[in-house]
Amino acid sequence: MAKGEAKRQGKITGAQAVIASLEAEGVEVVFGYPGGQAIQMYDALYDSKQLRHVLARHEQGAVHEADGYARATGRVGVALVTSGPGATNTVTGIATAYMDSVPIVVVTGQVPRSVIGTDSFQESDIVGITMPVVKHSFLVKSAADIARTFKEAFHIASTGRPGPVLIDVPSDIAAQTVSFSYPETANIPSYRPTYKGNARQVKAAAKLVSQAAKPVLYVGGGVIASGASDLVCRLAREYRIPVVTTLMAKGAVPASEPLNYGPIGMHGSKYGNRALNRSDVIIAVGARFSDRVTGNPEKFAPHAAVIHIDIDPAEIGKVRAAQVPIVGDASTVLASLLDELDAKGVKPDTQAWIAQLDEWREEFPILEKGADAYPGLIVPEVALAALSGMLDPHGSIVVTEVGQNQMWAAQFIDREEPRTFLTSGGLGTMGYGLPAAIGAAIALPDKQVVLVAGDGSLQMNSQEMATAAVYGANVKVVVLDNRALGMVHQWQRLFYEGRYSATELADNPDFVKLAEAYSWQAERVDAPEQVEAAFTRMLAAEGPYLIDMRIDRDQSVFPMVPTGASLAEAIGAVGV
């Protein structure tokens, strides 16, 4: 039915109901890409005064942009695409958000119901294809269901353990007419996350903490999702408990906090990994004992009793048995744990333990080499440490691509606040960084958004440079250009006798010209003494800016715990 006709009847179309639902959810930005089966939704979007549409240059970019928007703000990110290839192009973005528990809603157009299942033009079973990588998904079967479906989708995406939700909207439903009213609440009897921790377990946890001699707070991305940073810091400071953070939790505890013993895992610091491995009580909060953290789980922290706090019951005991399992929201549980500890009035005596950790931190600094380690060459660790010092600690967001660039950024760029370090941790998606940075910059235009990229990853979604240019997204890109798929190259150097199969990117484009072609400002830096001045120019510039920073191909990320080894077996640039 035509829009005008529907309006005369006091009704709106399904497509308009989709847009009205997004408006009712308070959505301000939609990242997307149109097509035949989404054209009606795009037509309805044309009239919206509330929604700003950002036209990505590829649907994968649109989903990562929505993801970056969500991670930077804590709000649900939204992507809108068409059926068939538009929908299948979202899969990597959805899987990336799923692995890192990021709340996004992806709306896909679908062929009309009458031809679903007939291999009609641009039909893909996107609900089926994405089933393993969504928190939940919907195929809308009637325009009358649109409002309720959107209410439920946003509720599911943003509560409990957050995650991506997909809504598939057949185009005949977009054309139906419906009287629209948006529900106040979502009522899903089969979906009731647990927020409050079991009181008995919280007591048991308090007892274990107060008796610990070598406790460690092992903090994961769940702390950021829950907004529990302040409570973690309070627990650490008041009860003198050292903290280590996973890649996903970078920023959850300020880098300047002396009790923060920094990044752990495959490329974590030796002192952080050792602290975790030799602890007697691990308080895991919103962390999942990922294989990138534990190394060989059989040999991981052999003497530790584990208190495991997570909103997802399936994470507890999945990898490591927990002596005290607590299902609940990190903030809620930590608040009750603090109450319990405060009431008890006993603090663990951790003075000797902290002194020991400080000794290790002195002995095994994460920056092992100085600027003079490679005369005449830009040392990426040194360059990023310099960048770290130049960023506004409270007004910047750092985003990474995947590979060495990501690990160096995690190691050498300090973060003081949650939601200021965005990286694809679980899926390790090359091509995530640029669009995620754009999403963050569009969400928070007043922040410095800096992307640390590799020359390989940047080329996976470089078309999004156009998106940044068109929408004036204030992204600053530092390409650590080693003309290689550096991380894989490193593995080949270390474990495959330097047989560099398919990891050397000899024929890269000229990134400066490429950026300029998209109306970005750009420059090349190939000597160490030029680095800081280039960073200064980049940070002072208006709008998108790229530095093509030439680094040596044979640089490695250290320390490194080889896959399957125990955390005690890290290898480094200097023998330990």
Binding site: M131, L139, S190, D312
Partner: protein, 164 residues
């Protein structure tokens, strides 16, 4: 009984795609399904899936937790360690030339199975009951030559005594 065997009764939304969500999750995480059956319940908006899986304790705990996380799952009941009744319906098509037909019928009767179709040289027998009963019947019928077997998969329900 195999100690790794678990009988799960899963109450789900009666909607398209729900079965593939449940099965997909189990297979994706590398667990084996021994038997599965699905049908509507007393409430038409809900279906019950009975799943029998073979998994050690840890793997089994993961399956249960992961299934519970599915938004389409209302309730999950583990019947394994409770008193429960388990049934399966099996259809056997057995060779039965005229001269041996009465023998086959006698075997079926012994097992309270019924003859549901008669052909020139074969009989189709419907049997229901516990696993051991059905295995016993299958063994005896084997002597005559079984041409085809089809089964519903097991369904299970807790015993009434549990409610008391």
């Amino acid at each position: 009984m195999n100690e790794n065997k678990h009988v799960l009764s899963v109450l789900v939304e009666n909607k398209s795609g729900v079965l593939s969500r449940v099965i997909g999750l189990i297979s994706r995480r590398g667990f084996n399904i021994d038997s599965l059956s699905v049908g509507p319940t007393e409430d038409p908006s809900r279906s019950r899936i009975t799943i029998i899986v073979d998994a050690d304790t840890e793997a089994y705990e993961q399956i249960v937790k992961q299934l519970n996380k599915l938004v389409c799952v209302y309730k999950l009941q583990d019947l394994t360690n409770d008193a429960y009744i388990e049934r399966e319906l099996v259809l056997f098509k057995v060779n039965a030339p005229a001269e041996r037909r009465s023998e086959v019928i006698e075997v079926a009767n012994l097992f309270r199975a019924s003859i549901v179709d008669v052909g020139a040289s074969s009989l189709t027998i419907e049997a229901t009951g516990s696993q051991s009963k059905l295995e016993g019947l299958e063994e005896l019928l084997g002597a005559y030559g079984i041409k085809e077997i089809t089964r519903t998969g097991k369904i299970a329900i807790s015993r009434n005594s549990k409610e008391a």
